[in-house]
């Protein structure tokens, strides 16, 4: 019975063009491991270097966002390095295009900060994104905090169409945040 269900799940995933599906604790090691395999797979399939670079890049930014911002944590908040946070990653192909999709729980407060940023990005063209990226990069303060706030702009710049996102309200002060970028 278990075997049958797993097989069904497996067939369902590949039928939907899903190349990678990972749900669970994410650390820097997981990012490096999956990222390496993802690059290897694209290389074997002769994916053009520009495309594979963009896929890899969006993958890294989305995964590091989970590590930096997911509200689901495995270890206490006071540790700066080696943090493990929970999220879901899907890398797939639809209509001949790669896509990278990530989901994770975030605080309501975080959602209110992120949403307008993403909405602004969907209304921008590539040149405007480039300007914004350069301005923000200059302004960003590099302290011991891991994020610079440049990640979403970078994802939007490298995506082919506008990035898609969703904020699903959960119990308490939490929101399930999903972001999808097509390359």
């Amino acid at each position: 019975m278990i075997r049958f269900n797993v097989h069904e799940f497996y067939v369902d995933l590949s039928g939907k063009g899903i190349i990678f599906c990972f749900s669970g604790p994410i650390s820097q090691d997981v990012i490096e491991g999956i990222g390496g395999t993802l690059k290897q797979k694209m290389e074997i399939e002769d994916t053009d270097l520009n495309t594979s670079q963009k896929v890899f890049s969006i993958f890294v930014e989305q995964m590091q966002n989970i590590v930096n911002y997911s509200a689901d944590r495995v270890i206490p908040e006071d540790r700066q390095e080696g943090e493990i946070r929970i999220g879901i990653l899907i890398v797939g192909k639809e209509d001949g295009h790669f896509y990278v999709l990530c989901g994770n729980k975030i605080s309501q407060e975080n959602a209110e900060t992120i949403r307008p940023q993403l909405e602004t990005l969907t209304r921008m063209n590539k040149d405007e994104m480039k300007q914004l990226y350069r301005e923000r990069r200059k302004m960003a303060v590099h302290t011991d905090e891991k994020g610079t706030g440049l990640g979403f702009i970078d994802i939007a710049r490298k995506a082919t169409g506008p990035i898609e996102f969703d904020f699903l309200p959960l119990d308490g002060d939490f929101v399930f945040f999903t972001i999808k970028a097509v390359i």
């Binding site: 820097q28 490096e32 520009n50 890294v60 700066q80 011991d144 905090e145 891991k146």
Partner: protein, 133 residues
């Protein structure tokens, strides 16, 4: 000053500062868990080296095959340090190496060049993308 060498890892670049050759090299991929923490100490050492060096010309080889957005901020800080050195009457030549099929890296180099008009940028095509030190 003694030479400094930082070995590459899967997510951080090889960095080499060679005071005798007046050379700084950064090569590989850069997406460490915490870019500020990774680059902070080495940038301080580089700053120290630049301020103490009597060389009139320093060469900087940058051959990055990928870097994430927070590394991009760190690299901007690095170039800012170089830019300040130029005003101390030192010539800085940045060799920005890129794979001919890697537009992202080429364009990223152009964007850095546009931020720092006083640094000399050479764009150099390199097909090999393998480093390990």
């Amino acid at each position: 000053m003694e030479p400094i060498t930082i070995k590459a890892t899967k997510s951080s670049p090889f960095i080499h500062v060679d005071p005798a050759a007046h050379l700084i090299q950064i090569m590989g991929e850069s997406y460490p868990e915490n870019a500020a923490k990774f680059y902070g100490p080495i940038l301080s050492s580089i700053n120290e080296y630049l301020n103490s060096s009597g060389a009139s010309r320093i060469t900087v080889d940058m051959h990055l095959t990928y870097f994430n957005s927070s590394s991009s901020k760190a690299l901007l800080n690095f170039l800012e340090i170089l830019d300040k050195t130029v005003s101390q009457s030192k010539d800085i030549v940045v060799n920005w190496c890129y794979h001919p099929d890697n537009e992202t890296i080429f364009e990223a180099g152009e964007e850095f060049r546009d931020e720092f008009p006083s640094l000399t940028f050479n764009f150099i095509e390199r097909s090999s993308e393998v480093f390990m030190a």
